[in-house]
């Protein structure tokens, strides 16, 4: 038995059957993390992990455990963890030991889960390659010269290389789905409002949503059960009841109506990626699903819309990093302006500054209507397109990313980087759930299939993904050298 290839479902069984203890499991993963060369972690919390594992074992022995007690995980370094450095991949927060727990961290602690460490990410979740981290880029485990995707690149690489059973991610414009696709793992971004945002460092508040990054859809369902739910501390958290996401995994897909947006298969999509996606669709057809074309005409405006809305929100969200109460402060500020200007200019990286400036400009007097307000209206149109499409189909499918993982350092121009987000952004703008599952390989690099559902249809998405994984082995493939 190779412990690290076990799914969470299998690890739960193993712990229950006393095949191994949580401490053994934790030691095994910590060893793998410390041997890993991917730079997937910003902090490895060895001592904390072992003490949590110890406690978990005691709970298990006493019969006082929950389903996920003793299961190790890696936490994206965007979630506040009390007493543990929480950097958001930024020099600005390199010294920030969070004085409080995010709701999600708190929930995991209540279940006595074991945090292995905090994963690397693009600074403040801004990026699609993980090259915007103050802690250096993460490497793609399938090819160390390639990017893992971003912004949850550390989480994706860690799960793909089996140095953690699962990891948390956040997705503002594709930051769970795109790295999941590029690293060949399963990732789901639930409906906006499903998982509390309290303690998750905000990039763009109306778009940010957390989600699990796992080996399998079944694992994603198990972890989502632990993550989802109403939180009184988050005004945008939904009061809607949370189902048991594992309940409908085995439902048949016979008669499922799948829509393929014609706009997702136009020029710009890599041939190899398209081929893998179409093969996956055929697999669904074989399971009894009905395939039809749909149109999302405004989804092509998602790039300008997103790159106005998100920077506007982030320019304001990141104003709190001013060197006054916590985080980076420049040396010997000579006056207040100097304190602000140098702390922020030295503390933030290039991409973050770029987006802050775009946002400050788009909100400024005289430009608000042309940029921010206009983008809000287009956002409505994008959302209405989906509403229309979901009147005739159950699930929308397509590519996650126009290409497979690209070479580290190869995309230097911000605009080219933004353009690669084309298939993921509209899902966030509309607040819909979206998923990426391993669907095959193009030139030895993983390709993800994107599943998009209507609001609150996570159960159906997970069911659709799980059925595919029962028929295929792509999610079981691991990078050769590991």
């Amino acid at each position: 038995m190779i412990m690290h290839n076990l799914s969470i479902a299998e690890l739960i069984k193993g712990l229950k059957n006393k095949d191994f203890s949580s401490v053994e499991l934790t030691q095994h993963y910590l060893k793998r993390i410390n041997e890993s060369k991917l730079n997937a972690f910003i902090s490895v919390t060895d001592d904390l992990a072992l003490s949590q594992a110890n406690e978990a074992d005691l709970k298990i022995a006493k019969g006082d455990s929950t389903l996920l007690t003793g299961i190790p995980y890696a936490h994206k370094d965007i979630f506040c963890t009390k007493g543990v450095k929480t950097s958001a991949g930024s020099k600005m927060l390199d010294s920030f030991i969070s004085p409080y727990d995010a709701t999600l961290s708190h929930k995991f602690n209540l279940e006595n889960m074991v945090m292995l460490g905090k994963t690397n990410m693009d600074e403040f979740a801004m990026g699609s390659s993980n090259e915007n981290s103050y802690y250096g880029p993460v490497k793609n485990p399938w090819d160390l010269k390639k990017v893992p995707g971003g912004s949850s690149g550390g989480s994706a690489a860690a799960v793909a290389s089996r140095i953690t059973p699962f990891a948390t991610g956040t997705d503002t414009g594709g930051s769970i789905r795109q790295p999941a696709s590029l690293c060949g793992i399963t990732g789901i971004k639930p409906t906006y409002g499903r998982i509390s945002r309290y303690g998750m460092i905000a990039y763009a508040s109306s778009l940010d949503q957390a989600g699990p990054m796992t080996q399998t859809a079944e694992d994603a369902a198990i972890v989502l059960n632990a993550m989802a739910g109403f939180d009184t501390k988050d005004s945008t958290s939904a009061t809607k009841e949370t189902p048991d996401y594992t309940k409908k995994l085995t439902n048949s897909l016979d008669g499922l109506k799948i829509g393929l947006p014609k706009e997702f298969f136009s020029s710009g999509l890599d041939d190899g990626v398209e081929k893998v996606v179409m093969q996956a669709i055929k697999e669904y057809e074989a399971m009894g699903a009905k395939i039809q074309e749909v149109s999302l005409p405004n989804s092509m405006h998602a790039i300008p819309t997103y790159y106005i809305v998100a920077p506007c929100e982030c320019s304001s969200n990141l104003s709190r990093f001013d060197g006054v109460r916590y985080g980076y402060r420049c040396e010997d500020p000579k006056d207040l302006d100097d304190l602000y200007l140098r702390s922020r200019s030295e503390g933030f990286g290039k991409e973050v500054k770029r987006r802050i400036m775009i946002g400050a400009y788009a909100l400024s007097a005289g430009y608000y209507d042309a940029y921010y307000l206009k983008a809000q209206k287009v956002r409505q149109l994008i959302s209405e397109d989906f509403k229309k499409a979901f009147q005739s189909v159950d699930v929308i499918m397509g590519p996650v990313s126009p290409s497979t993982a690209f070479d580290l350092g190869s995309v230097k121009d911000p605009v080219s980087m933004y353009l690669a987000d084309i298939y993921t952004l509209s899902v966030n703008l509309a607040g819909l759930p979206g998923m990426s599952i391993p669907a095959g390989f193009s030139k030895n690099l993983p390709v993800g299939l994107q599943l998009i559902g209507n609001h609150w249809s996570e159960e159906l998405l997970l069911n659709t993904a799980h059925q595919f994984q029962l028929k295929t082995d792509w999610h079981k493939s691991t990078p050769i050298e590991l």
């Binding site: 005004s235 300008p304 106005i308 001013d322 042309a370 983008a375």
Partner: protein, 95 residues
């Protein structure tokens, strides 16, 4: 709409970011490239579409008026860059 160097400096200051003169030219051209992406927004006919600020149609939940927070001043100030007896300190502000 395209930005010149002077505007870029003004926007940077609005966001309390400083740009060295040596990087100004490049910043301006990068920002203009990004803004050129947004150019086609103005051409979209949005008709009478309502501006969408939130993905969900929910209304604000209200909290009971209760004091639930304890005093954690010491913990909070322990991670502050500069504090006095019980204050956060910044360089003297002239009003």
């Amino acid at each position: 709409m395209s930005l010149d160097n002077k505007q870029v400096k003004e926007i940077a200051y609005l966001a309390r970011l400083s740009i060295e003169d040596t990087e100004l030219e490049q910043s301006t051209s990068e920002l203009n490239n990004i803004l050129s992406l947004m150019a086609d927004l103005s051409e979209i006919d949005t008709g009478d579409a309502e501006p969408m600020a939130h993905p969900l149609h929910m209304s604000q939940r209200l909290r009971e008026d209760e004091v639930t927070e304890e005093n954690l001043a010491e913990e909070f100030q322990a991670i502050a860059p500069k504090t006095g007896k019980s204050h956060f300190l910044v360089p003297t502000v002239i009003e």
